[in-house]
């Protein structure tokens, strides 16, 4: 049963990451996704300190606020012509993340967060922290959080799909049509923040970046429409989870890291296959 919970949680986390990852990769915002995934740690820590206990709701609110603050502060710094955009991102998220780690160290007694776990996650422990309703155990907390965030992603992206498409393709054009570009940008950053929170228990702050960027990048290689790209990203994400889990069991290694390794392996495999097929493809283009 534990295996199923682990797989289901990993699968949901990877799916959420794949969906928002597509929008990040297309807008060339992978680095911002990286940044948010790290600075939400500060939000989670602050949520702990304010509530004095673990509260999923507070964690999500804290993470979203911190994610939006990261995105906003980054943009503010970029307004200075002497600060490059990658520098502004790098400055903001590393200092937020560092502050989070410092707070964890100071309040170690009050915060049930472990520095190792924050960085790498430990999906193997997911089944032991369960939601209990009366006498009945309803399964792991991390699973329910991942499911809730996945549903939020599906509903928000599904409903406003056309807006996200236009925003990703051409923000200037979107602006010229009178769409509220800052609003939809903030919405995407909110989804990224929520997705990262849900992924923390399972894969940690570093590997969530792999799940945000790699399946979406693999999908980018093969897809010809945004819908197809999201579909392919989901397929790549699920394959990475299944193969990664298999690898971890086989080698008795870390599950989340194995998933990351497999995601990277699938990207390389896709590239290799495309290279092999390339002569044909170029002939087709000429005709």
């Amino acid at each position: 049963m534990n295996d199923i919970w682990i797989l289901a949680t990993a699968s949901l986390v990877a799916s959420s990451c794949a969906l928002v990852g597509v929008l990040l990769v297309l807008r060339r915002l992978s680095l911002l996704g990286d940044a948010i995934s790290h600075s939400v740690l500060l939000g989670i820590v602050l949520a702990y300190l304010v509530m004095g206990e673990r509260s999923e709701m507070a964690m999500m609110v804290g993470a979203v606020l911190m994610g939006l603050l990261t995105a906003g502060l980054t943009q503010l710094l970029q307004k200075n012509p002497h600060i490059q955009s990658d520098v502004s991102i790098g400055v903001v998220f590393t200092s937020f993340f560092a502050l989070g780690v410092v707070l964890i160290a100071i309040y170690a007694g009050q915060i049930d967060l472990d520095q190792e776990c924050v960085l790498y996650g430990e999906i193997a422990f997911v089944p032991f922290d369960t939601v209990v309703w009366g006498e009945q155990s309803l399964g792991p907390r991390a699973f329910w959080l991942a499911l809730a965030v996945f549903l939020i992603n599906v509903v928000v992206i599904g409903v406003a799909f056309e807006r996200f498409k236009l925003m990703a393709f051409h923000p200037l054009l979107a602006l010229s049509l009178g769409l509220s570009v800052p609003f939809w940008h903030a919405m995407l950053m909110t989804l990224v923040s929520l997705t990262t929170v849900a992924s923390f228990d399972a894969v940690g702050a570093i590997l969530v970046v792999a799940l945000l960027v790699i399946p979406a990048s693999s999908a980018y290689l093969v897809a010809t429409s945004l819908k197809a790209m999201m579909g392919w990203a989901l397929v790549y994400a699920q394959l990475s989870v299944l193969l990664g889990y298999g690898l971890a069991v086989w080698l008795d290694s870390a599950i989340a890291a194995s998933i990351g390794v497999m995601a990277g392996g699938l990207l390389l495999l896709t590239l290799a296959i495309q290279q092999l097929l390339k002569p044909k493809a170029s002939q087709l283009n000429l005709s």
Binding site: L26, F161, L166, L173, S176, T224
Partner: protein, 254 residues
């Protein structure tokens, strides 16, 4: 029509701390086709972005059809420069054209069959209908430009602002764009284009705005596009390829 489709008053813009445009004022007649001319870096594209509210104004006022742009954005269609787009984006021609309908749709709505029919008509007008299911990366530069023009067309605007639509396109595309201008003129629409080829100005446009960080001149092609004003705009250097005195005369199409 007495209301000017586009009036710019004392506009100034900056790029970071560098002043790009200063003291630009003009007014254009309804139903005209206008070329914005000037040397590279004169601020032509910046001017269009300023008019569209896509870049901040330091000073000045822009009014379209006698009011603020924000109240009537859909009346103004903007065609960005081709190289400002991501042509590797996984999207098909039809979907790009349908984006012209987005302003008319609520965020949860999908384009309807009416929107699709309009998009097909627009593609037809630009000879791009056979390509409707192509991914945009598989198109030539000229075809990409035509997709963007079709996108602007389905917006059913009254004022069209285009950033270098003729830049780097093939003959067929140039013809298609000129054909589009004729259709728009028949419908009393106003066209404003950033343009770089002085040789074709008189043929394609009936009004010119010459800028070089500031306004040099604005007026009808016949009286404004004089060698003196051209020299003043381009700093005495006549742009390459311009055959002064042999400029093609308007052939009566406009």
């Amino acid at each position: 029509m007495s209301v000017s489709p586009l009036r710019v008053e004392n506009l100034a813009m900056r790029y970071h701390t560098q002043p790009v445009l200063e003291g630009v004022s003009f007014d254009i007649p309804a139903g005209s086709s206008v070329a914005i001319l000037g040397p590279n870096g004169a601020g032509k594209s910046t001017l269009l972005k300023g008019i569209m509210g896509l870049a901040p104004l330091m000073q000045g006022k822009v009014s379209v059809f006698g009011g603020a742009l924000t109240d009537q954005r859909l009346k103004v269609a903007y065609v960005p420069q081709r190289d400002e787009s991501d042509w590797d984006f996984p999207i098909q021609v039809m979907d790009v054209v349908l984006m012209g309908r987005h302003g008319h749709l609520k965020f949860w709505q999908r384009p309807s069959s009416v929107d699709r029919a309009l998009a097909k008509q627009a593609l037809q007008k630009l000879d791009m209908l056979p390509y409707q299911n192509r991914q945009i990366s598989q198109l030539s530069g000229g075809q990409q430009q035509r997709v963007f023009l079709a996108r602007a067309l389905v917006q059913q605007a009254d004022l069209y602002l285009m950033d270098e639509p003729f830049a780097g396109v093939d003959m067929m595309t140039e013809k298609a764009i000129v054909g589009l201008f004729e259709i728009l003129k028949q419908q009393q629409k106003t066209i404003v284009c950033v343009h770089h080829d002085l040789n074709t100005v008189a043929e394609y446009f009936d009004w010119v705005i010459l800028i070089n960080h500031g306004l040099i001149a604005s007026g009808p092609v016949e009286t404004t596009l004089t060698p003196e004003i051209i020299a003043k705009t381009y700093g005495g250097r006549i742009p390459l390829g311009l055959k002064l005195g042999t400029q093609r005369k308007g052939n009566g199409r406009f």
